[in-house]
Amino acid sequence: MAQKQVTLPASIDDTLKLLTGADYVADRSLATVLFLALKMGRPLFLEGEAGVGKTEIAKVLSATLGRKLIRLQCYEGLDVAAAVYEWNYAGQMIAIRLAEAEGAVDRDRLSGDIFSEKFLIKRPLLQALEPDTAGAPVLLIDELDRADEAFEAFLLEVLADGQVTIPELGTVKAEHPPIVIITSNRTREIHDALKRRCLYHWVGYPTAERELTIVRAKVPGIGRVLSEQVVGFVQMLRKEDLFKAPGVAETLDWATALAELDVAALDPATISNTLGVLLKYQDDIARIDESKASQLLDEVRAELRAAE
């Protein structure tokens, strides 16, 4: 065999190991549902606040399993032509003209010729059904809540049976259905019919301990004290009455920013100078002013002292 195929994990522990090996710090619940999705061949539907690492799971999966990653970013107005397939109209027209020039005017044969796979342009969903030497690809359908409700219906056939029906051509079925990961930020509810075909998991904010592991894995240069304070402060912020609590992505951004600024330990002034990395709403930033920040920081310090 030219390429060594990485086998799917055989147990929940294996799945956890696989993710940890790729610097993705997952909790056991996520590993369980991911293992089941792989084992049962079901799509995995991940919902959660922005910046908690939903998309990252698909990337890590494709990297560790050595599979191709096919990404479909959803947006308002996404339709079949952009997501599933499109005909190569220019090519078809030329084919018609050529047939005319040759004098072949058998209409049935002509339409059979021009609606053939030769003129089919494959978009992500159809690409994902193609056989691949490395094994079935990972299909990431990102931020499904951004697409219109009508678009969800196109997905049902792909998700349930791993196939797509093209009226002019027939049904295209994958020999090995792709590993499907769907993410949503829950800006609207996804229809139950779609959810029913998937395994559902809510990706929440990590615990302090896990977040610390994530920060240390992703920001290698960061000091022990700073990383503890950063995580403690962010965890404290999430308990505040904010419009948008910071996600893990924001924690990492902040940790990186502070490390770049050569900060050894947090102080109120640094916090209020860099708060824009963490909070993205003006009301939230106004709420956490310097005195509030220093109060939170004191609490974090007291907590860390108590833990020692």
Binding site: I12, E76, G77, Y89, V105, R188, K195, R196, L199
Partner: protein, 401 residues
């Protein structure tokens, strides 16, 4: 390791699914089969793994996680239960008694509803006039509506057909066939020219597709509004029936999402299940608090794709403060259009005690007062009207502000 369909584990999963259904998580027979498959795939290891295995299959919404947790804790309460499950999967093991599902469901329901009513303590306020006065005191009570007559239902359907909200149609980014469109539809063009054997190319075009934007209704059900509540709920039921995306929230002293309840086809049934899910009928009003909850928990989930917000309240807040203004401001910024429908507002006899109204009026796009509200027809007319009434309201608005 195999899970035979007649084994104890299968029985227990079926019972558990039934308990979940009783607790309010929609679990279909398909999910039960999935659960069996999942348990078979994952094996029964630790309690945590078993928990997340069933969670992956049965829970399809984040808010059901809590119910699931409660149900799981009660159903698989006995510490040695999992040992029994594991031994039950071996053929020689003695069968263990399954937990009775009824009792489990009962306790889940109790577990669900315990804790309500603790957060807000009733305050001792004395109110004299029931109408046009407000209190922030929480009176938890149930409500019974009179049944709908067939005539009423028919009239409502008729009236709703005439409902034209401002910005009733919004352009989407999707296209549909349109002979005056500007985008060439190559697919249809090619098909059409194939009909003629490819000799003729008849250009087919696409134009924008429009659709009705989502409606989000926030309805005040406090004591001062109680006489209109039935009408509004019936109205919203009819609108929910006629349109695709309608979300309804009721608020008095707390905020309740009754969208699912109103989706039932029969108006009586819909109103009945509404009644069952709300506990603060005809009590006090806390507009600021309710809007805060809405903004925080729901706004980002339901105010997408150009939603129109119908705020139905008399605006009589006991303690209007900065918070009300702040939350109104945020609400207005998050939606496409904020329409305030006020059934109790009279222009004359307006007094300083209605400070809440003054605060709110500055943050709405449109104010639609109704002097007397007796029927669905009037309500629909008030909502559909543009110009006339709202001009009057605007003039009044300027005087007040």
């Amino acid at each position: 390791m195999s899970v035979s369909p007649d084994g104890r584990l299968a029985d227990n999963i079926v019972y558990f699914a039934r308990a979940l259904r009783a607790a309010g998580i929609p679990v279909g027979p398909g999910s039960v089969l999935d659960a069996l498959e999942a348990v078979k795939a994952a094996g029964v290891g630790t309690r945590e793994d078993f928990y997340w295995t069933l969670h992956a299959v049965f829970v399809k919404r984040h808010e059901h996680s809590l119910l699931f947790e409660q149900a799981f804790r009660i159903f698989f309460r006995r510490r040695d239960y999992l040992d029994k499950v594991m031994s039950a999967m071996l053929p020689q093991a003695p069968p263990s008694e399954p937990e009775p599902p009824k009792a489990g469901a009962q306790r889940v329901a109790e577990a669900m509803f315990s804790g309500l009513g603790e957060e807000d303590k009733p305050k001792t306020d004395v109110e004299i006039d029931a109408r046009l006065t407000v209190s922030d005191r929480e009176v938890l009570q149930r409500k019974d509506f009179a049944q709908m007559s067939a005539l009423e239902i028919a009239q409502a359907r008729q009236a709703i057909k005439q409902l034209v909200l401002p910005l009733n149609e919004v352009k989407t980014r999707r296209l549909k066939p349109n002979s005056r469109g500007r985008v060439v539809d190559l697919r249809r063009t090619l098909r059409a020219s194939m009909k003629a054997g490819g000799a003729l190319i008849d250009l087919q075009t696409l134009g924008p597709r429009t659709k009705a934007p989502p409606i989000v209704a926030l309805v005040d059900i406090s004591g001062s509004m109680s006489q209109y509540t039935r009408l509004f709920l019936h109205f919203l039921h009819a609108v929910t029936d006629a349109r695709k995306r309608v979300h309804t929230f009721l608020f008095g002293t707390r905020l309740t999402n009754v969208t699912r309840a109103l989706k039932q086809k029969d108006p009586d049934e819909a109103l009945e299940s509404c009644t069952a899910s709300v506990t603060d009928w005809s009590g006090g009003t806390r507009i600021g608090t309710s809007l805060h909850l809405f903004n925080k928990l729901w706004a980002r989930r339901v105010l997408t794709q150009g939603a129109i917000v119908l705020l139905i309240t008399d605006g009589l807040e006991r303690d209007p403060d900065d918070r009300l203004a702040f939350e109104m401001d945020r609400l207005q910024r998050s939606c496409r259009r904020l329409i305030w429908l006020n059934p109790l507002l009279r222009f004359e006899g307006f007094e300083a005690k209605a400070k809440g109204i003054r605060t709110m009026v500055q943050h709405v796009d449109e104010l639609r007062p109704i002097h007397s509200l007796e029927s669905m027809g009037e309500l629909v007319r008030a909502l559909s009207a543009d110009g006339g009434q709202s001009n009057e309201a605007t003039a009044w608005l300027k005087r007040v502000a």
